[in-house]
Amino acid sequence: MAIEDLVPSEYSAGFITDVDSETIAPGLDESVVRFISAKKSEPGWLTDWRIKAYEYWRQQTPPTWAHVHFPEVDFEAISYYSAPKKAGEGPASLDDVDPELIRTYEKLGIPLHEQETLAGVEKKTPVAVDVVFDSVSITTTFKDKLAEAGVIFCPISEAVRSHPELVQKYLGSVVPQRDNFYAALNSAVFSDGSFVYIPQGVRCPMELSTYFRINAQNTGQFERTLIIAEKGSYVSYLEGCTAPMRDENQLHAAVVELIALEDAEIKYSTVQNWYPGDKNGKGGIYNFVTKRGACRGARSKISWTQVETGSAITWKYPSVVLRGDDSVGEFYSVALTNNYQQADTGTKMIHLGRNTRSTIISKGISAGKSQNSYRGLVRTSPAAHGARNYTQCDSLLIGSESGAHTFPYIENMNPNAIIEHEATTSKVSDDQLFLCQQRGIDPEKAVSMIVNGFCKDVFRELPMEFAVEAGKLLEVSLEGAVG
């Protein structure tokens, strides 16, 4: 039995929902941007904001510095808006939702009814969910309960109408329209996503989560998430995503912006399980995402935890700008690639304030013929006296045909800063597998046990029920990594 022998992995979320959708013709020009804006009854400032982004994007070319290889994306072949048709207009209550959609989420283990729980796991506290299907939000649960605490949790398209002053103040304030090619594209055509506002001093009474699903063919998904934590507030937010199995590649270019004011804390967890393509590398999602948090206030804290198992290509660097004195940024990541998947992921920690601290723990697992890169930047400004960073970056190879790469960048402009970097690369050895087998454990279980052990430091950071999910997900994603 050699570790090299590969068989396809099973992607259980790969089914297609047969639902009547309104989808615009492929291609992108100003009229498409205006169409999307009109569809969402947006105010003029936002339409203009989108157009500006579009005009910038039009003049740009996609970045090529990441360690990923794929045929050029034909942006004219993508449809930029698709939404399941609703029975009527007006606020979406669950009764308005196509039963086919409800069944879709049941199959995926996502509760649309408030009394239910996540993926069959017993929970004491419920989770509020915003559910985004292609370009629109289907429903948001527990809205009333959250409103009692003053928490706003709604689709961003709704927030544009109900809380325009907040959206206008913060949208693009962390990730500007011109940040990068995909962020500009997203700014022009973003469809839906979640908006979260936690008022001063409020500890959000439950976990918030958004579940993204791509269903329609040849459509891109461009969601936009904005989370604002006022002084002394706290929120834990989870994000999950899946897509059907299709032979064509599909584009997902999201932007997430987090703002933490004085003493506020945002914990953002992602379990990314977009369709990774088949065992020969056909199909799968191109996941080109810009996620950034701003620790604006003193002693604020932003923590990113991600478990990335899906997507054909991942290009993603959840980052933290540490402006407030004594603010804290964290990045905990597990990125697993199998078959022909490629991931180039990591973080940026930008230290601007005094005594700012950041921690980066990255665990990359490469199996099959996949390529897995960590790319991370730690920068300290001249003013960031007493800044500290600790980076630990571990790679685990399964088999001998996969690649692991590490690209750490350090730009230290403060002589007082302390920056530590540790990196290891290890391999699941035949001897380790044989030891497990000799103790009665089959090789697939053995690999999953070894990989789970390798990821322990990151899983610890996930909310309980997600940690269980993540463990299971790794097992599924690794199926076939040993034969």
Partner: protein, 248 residues
């Protein structure tokens, strides 16, 4: 029926013939010592019994309880009761010993159609075995063999032997690298494991282990075949004369 029956076994490793017609019978309730100079094929025999990939049986048969073992997967052999204490136990960082032991026990139980062990009972049992082997319970929380000294690794192998309680124990130089106190602890563990229903294949380079574990038979392996078998007095003879008189 004999516990283990090896008939005319020829084994090839990396295109080199290592075992060249080995015959051996182990009865239930007995301890057979395998001795011999370095490179004679002792570890190869242990590996092939456990089904290690890369150890190709060219001809001959291995029977466990009368059933042919030649093409059985390693994990299935383990589930049927073959246990190998490794000469050089490998480390598995990140997987705690406790977790590893539970996975082993549960997988073997499942293969036999039994329920997994109760976690609390299991932990009690593991801790009490660790105590008899002078292993600090803190070791159980660490990664499998991670940062263990040579002696600790060997004691950890015996801990697994006592916990999994296999049918046939193949112990590959479990005594090497142990000081006299550790040797006594390990020997005590092996003696505790022995009963009338199981068997031990005790591979050792040094006759001194046999002062602590009295074998029923002693075999000398040289260049891939057994060149001499006898009772425990053969071990004493080897201590006096070395191996050269047998292999020349």
């Amino acid at each position: 029926m004999n516990l283990l029956e090896i008939q005319d076994l020829h084994v090839r490793v990396a295109d080199q013939l290592i075992l060249k017609g080995l015959n051996l019978t182990v009865e239930k309730g007995s301890v057979h010592a395998i001795m011999g100079p370095n490179g004679s094929g002792k570890s190869t025999l242990a590996s092939v019994l456990a089904g290690k990939p890369g150890y190709e049986i060219e001809s001959g048969e291995i029977f466990l309880d009368g059933e042919l073992l030649n093409d059985v997967k390693p994990e299935v052999r383990a589930q049927r009761g073959v246990f190998l204490a490794f000469q050089y136990p490998v480390e598995i960082p990140g997987v705690s010993n406790m977790e590893f032991l539970k996975a082993a026990l549960d997988n073997i139980a499942a293969a036999r159609g039994n329920q997994p062990a109760n976690t609390v009972e299991f932990m009690k049992q593991v801790r009490s075995i660790a105590k008899t082997l002078d292993l600090n319970p803190e070791f159980l929380k660490r990664g499998v063999n991670e940062g263990f000294s040579g002696g600790e690794k060997k004691r950890n192998e015996i801990l697994q032997l006592l916990l999994l309680n296999p049918h046939l124990a193949v112990l590959d130089e479990t005594d090497s690298g142990l000081d006299i106190d550790a040797l006594q602890v390990v020997a005590g563990g092996i003696n505790h494991y022995r009963n009338t229903d199981n068997g031990v294949l005790l591979i050792t380079h040094y006759p001194r282990l046999l002062d602590h574990i009295v074998p029923d038979r002693v075999h000398v392996l040289a260049d891939g075949v057994i060149v001499r078998s006898g009772d425990k007095t053969l071990a004493l003879e080897l201590e006096d004369k070395g191996y050269a008189w047998l292999t020349d």
